[in-house]
Symmetry: C2
Subunit: 214 residues, 2 copies
């Protein structure tokens, strides 16, 4: 039951480009970080789409998806919004009627509300009492499977700082954004010493896995 | 005759930690980025030392060294200083009597002076008319071999922005510095589209090679 971050990042360490908006949430050039994954068969199947490429990257993405039994994400990853729910134009989430998670998703927020149940097995539960509570609830929901951090970078940093992050799967795209949302910000290792677990060459991106050294 | 950057970088993209000084030029924690290389036999031999580890990383470092026929570096990499030479406490360079390069090194500076000839084949030549001039001179000196950018990050960025950088060998250490000197800063791809050429798992660090896509 590891807490896992699986995220695409630019060569200069950004997970989104400059000036993200509701219409372009990945910022300027940010979608270039995800080009490698959105054309894979496993990603497309997970999102209810047909076709797609089937090579080693595809197996890796399918395997990562199979290993997860719950997700934790920030409020902004759920809806793109902030503040009271009645003022959020995407209060029902921006993931559509059948979100790709197909398991329990815990959304960190300061604004309590009832869970949102979607088709295909995804339930969004809103957690207002902090990251440790969200992790406890996610562990209970995930059973023997792992828990994925669904972003954003600030949520990943909170778990890293707290020494609760076990594994990072980083997909490094051959792109320099020059600015945007840094994955790590001013976050150092904190209590977690890291070691490189694997580095493999994907079709377009480098797959790096780092885990706790202890 | 490729222009090549070969550099160790933290997982969060820094080539040196916070608060670099003349005594601690790599800043706080920056020496952790280089721990993997300084214990290798090939690195030690190059620096006039005996012993060291011999595994795959060692071959990689030896091969990278053999492929280079000249270096280009910034003034600060030569001496740690700046401004007029008569005020620089390391005006003769801080690389010792027998620097590890053993070929022509071109130092970018605004302050002209005669070349400095060292033992073991290293000659430092000072270039005041810009990065393209330095590259032309380095190409002439390197013959059929490649040219290495010896840092710092600002020099690498200048060549990248100008579309003159051919290959980057990045050694990603499992360390988050949380701040310091970013390798890329606000530098985007500029005119150079990049592609991943290889990703391999080293003993402690990930070795990533990116090259021009065109």
């Amino acid at each position: 039951m590891a807490l896992t971050l699986d995220i695409s990042v630019s060569l200069d360490g950004f997970v989104a480009g400059r000036n993200p908006t509701l219409e372009e949430p990945l910022g300027e050039g940010g979608e270039r970080l995800h080009e490698w994954v959105v054309r894979l068969a496993s990603w497309r199947r997970q999102h209810g789409l047909e076709g797609g490429e089937s090579h080693a990257d595809d197996g890796l993405v399918a395997e990562a998806s199979r290993s997860l039994g719950a997700h934790i994400m920030g409020r902004r990853m759920f809806s793109g919004g902030s503040g009271p729910w009645e003022q959020d134009p995407n209060a029902d989430g921006w993931w559509g009627d059948e979100p790709p998670f197909r398991h329990a998703v815990f959304v960190l927020t300061h604004h309590p509300r009832e869970p949102v149940v979607k088709e295909g097995g995804t339930t969004f539960t809103f957690v207002t009492d902090g990251i440790e509570s969200a992790l406890d609830q996610a562990k209970a929901a995930a059973g023997d499977l792992d828990i994925g951090i669904g972003g954003g970078a600030d949520v990943a940093q909170q778990y890293l700082r707290a020494g609760l992050l076990d594994t990072m799967h980083l997909h490094v795209a051959p792109v320099l954004l020059g600015g945007g949302t840094p994955l790590f910000g001013d976050c150092d290792n904190g209590p977690t010493a890291l070691r490189l677990e694997s580095a493999t060459q994907g079709h377009e991106v480098a797959h790096l896995t780092f885990a706790r050294a202890d």
